[in-house]
Symmetry: C2
Subunit: 344 residues, 2 copies
């Protein structure tokens, strides 16, 4: 196959129609797999197209009312292993469905939610996947009003009108805490995520619930705010370690902060996990490259991406499908960063 672009004009369905000796409508039918075309005709058209190197012009197709087969993906940026895993899942599923991917990063749109909508409305995409932790409700409302198909990944729709995918954050955090407790830890430091996010809140709640269920008193000094960034994990840990009676284990609300925590622990000359155990949340690829390898709660990020695509395609296919929320299970992944606390 080769593309004519400079040599003469681009190949259109007219050229193919001419070459095959049929009308343009027939060519269109063939390329859209519409019924009502004799097999012989179909073959003739396909051959002509092949010979000419015809490729459908998506712009024209979707303008004319066809499907563009392009879906949008709105993400904060690519600086985050967490987001990347989701994108990979999205890409996989989209490939299976023969759709193209248009990527929008929010940092470019500034914080102007109207700009995001612009993307949505530019006509290129048939629907949009949102991996935007901090979604303004104004934006969500506008999106909702637009009737445009969209699905939320790892965020809850406060409006409750769209499909969305989540993970069992509460249960995951509970399991993590329980694991640490089972190991014998009683003084467990907790580094929160951005507490405006439901995922962060759920993890916090799960952690607290586990402590309560095991009659471990809640010590506020052991709970430090973080923001899901590596640096905050580092800072929080330094703070935790400076306590007169520091924790023997630290539960970071995500892996990036856990990595920061590891740095901090080592910096004060302590050993992981001998002196302090560390557990994370997410199970991003890097969690396997730390030393010691990070024990964490696996969140099925890739699958969340795949499921998100399925949900979106479903909405695009049939806008009347009632929206649904799918929650996927999290899971404890034991590696090398935790062990029982030293006897005092």
């Amino acid at each position: 196959m080769s593309i004519q672009r400079n040599s003469g004009h681009p190949i259109t369905i007219y050229d193919v129609a001419h070459e095959a000796g049929v009308s343009d409508a027939t060519v269109s039918r063939v390329f859209n797999n519409k019924p009502g075309v004799r097999e012989a005709t179909r073959t003739k058209v396909l051959n002509a197209a092949q010979k000419l190197g015809y490729v459908v012009n998506m712009q024209a197709r979707s303008l004319a009312g066809g499907k563009s087969n392009v879906v949008g993906l709105l993400i904060p940026g690519l600086d985050n292993g967490y987001v990347i895993e989701i994108v990979r899942g999205v890409d996989q599923e989209l490939a299976r469905s023969g759709c193209e991917l248009m990527v929008y990063t929010t940092h470019r749109a500034g914080n102007d939610s109207a700009n995001y909508l612009r993307y949505v409305a530019n006509g290129l995409t048939e629907g949009i996947l949102l991996v935007v932790p901090l979604l303004s409700s104004e934006f969500l409302q506008n999106l909702e009003n637009s009737g445009y198909p969209y699905v939320l990944i790892d965020a809850v729709n406060t409006l409750g009108h769209s499909s969305s995918v989540n993970a069992t954050n509460w249960q995951g955090a509970y399991k993590a805490a329980e694991y640490l407790i089972g190991l014998g830890h009683r003084r467990i430091g907790f580094i929160t995520g951005i507490m405006q996010l439901s995922s962060a809140i759920d993890r916090y709640d799960g952690f607290i619930a586990a402590l309560k269920d095991h009659q471990i008193p809640i010590d506020d000094a052991l709970i430090v705010r973080g923001d899901f960034q590596q640096q905050s994990g580092y800072d929080a840990t330094r703070q935790l370690l400076a306590l007169s009676s520091p924790p023997t284990a630290i539960f970071a609300s995500n892996d990036m902060m856990a990595v920061g925590a590891m740095d901090a622990v080592r910096e004060v000359g302590l050993d992981i996990p001998a002196d302090v155990s560390i557990i994370g949340f997410d199970n991003i690829p890097q969690a396997m490259n730390t030393y010691p390898k990070l024990t964490t709660i696996h969140q099925p990020l890739e699958e969340m991406g795949r499921v998100g695509v399925k949900l979106l395609l479903e909405q695009i296919e049939n806008p009347d499908t009632p929206p649904k929320t799918i929650t996927l299970a999290t899971q404890l992944v034991i590696r090398d960063s935790c062990q029982p606390p030293k006897r005092e």
Copy 2:
């Protein structure tokens, strides 16, 4: 701003024209910043558009001969920190230029180069950025023939007809080897990349050149093939360490392999860097999260992405611009994974 989609028909330039009491052509002129529109008229149009929540339909615009402002990016996939860094740079620069990003991953197209071309020709994108290490020359030739604007990132165009961005691989490797030699190492293991790639070859050559310049004999047993994947770094290192006289330092052709190498070293109970020093290449974000932190050669991945975009936009703007190749400098980043060898 809000988008009408379900409520009535989508807002078109006709609606705006009607609202503003002008013709559609004038609205078009305004939105394309064409000259020959009175300031008062312009304002009137803008206000009407604002009021109606008009958003340009890219499909129609580009069909009608305008610019789509969409560029394509062809990458192997997102499993690789290296690629991700480039994508980030691409995204940044595109944002600055007000362009949209269409991402194509090669794994979806199988190995059929014709399929990639399909992307190119589907009319959505105005040009394409290629971050495809193993590019078939057939594909390249087709692309070349098509006259479609494209630029190669971190790959050399064997045809020599397009713009491309590279880094000083040879020099980087030379510096890495020299650093190790300066530290006192004489037995240095080298893990190659995929030797079909010029970047891998250049790194190899740079390494060898440094050894020669310092009168260090080349020992073939110390040179092991890798494929740029973490696993191969691990395997190669196990092999190196099993030698009767193992190396005191290992130079991996990229960071991912260096990470694998670290695993292997630790697995045989040796210490990094006390027993064996490790140096990588790329400086992906993870290089800072290993323990000990990885000393490596920084390749300006993000900037390569940015420069690639600039080059592409230049080609799109003016197809007659002679293609150019820009080579960016690499740089030694000293962290904690190397130190002088132990005295025997």
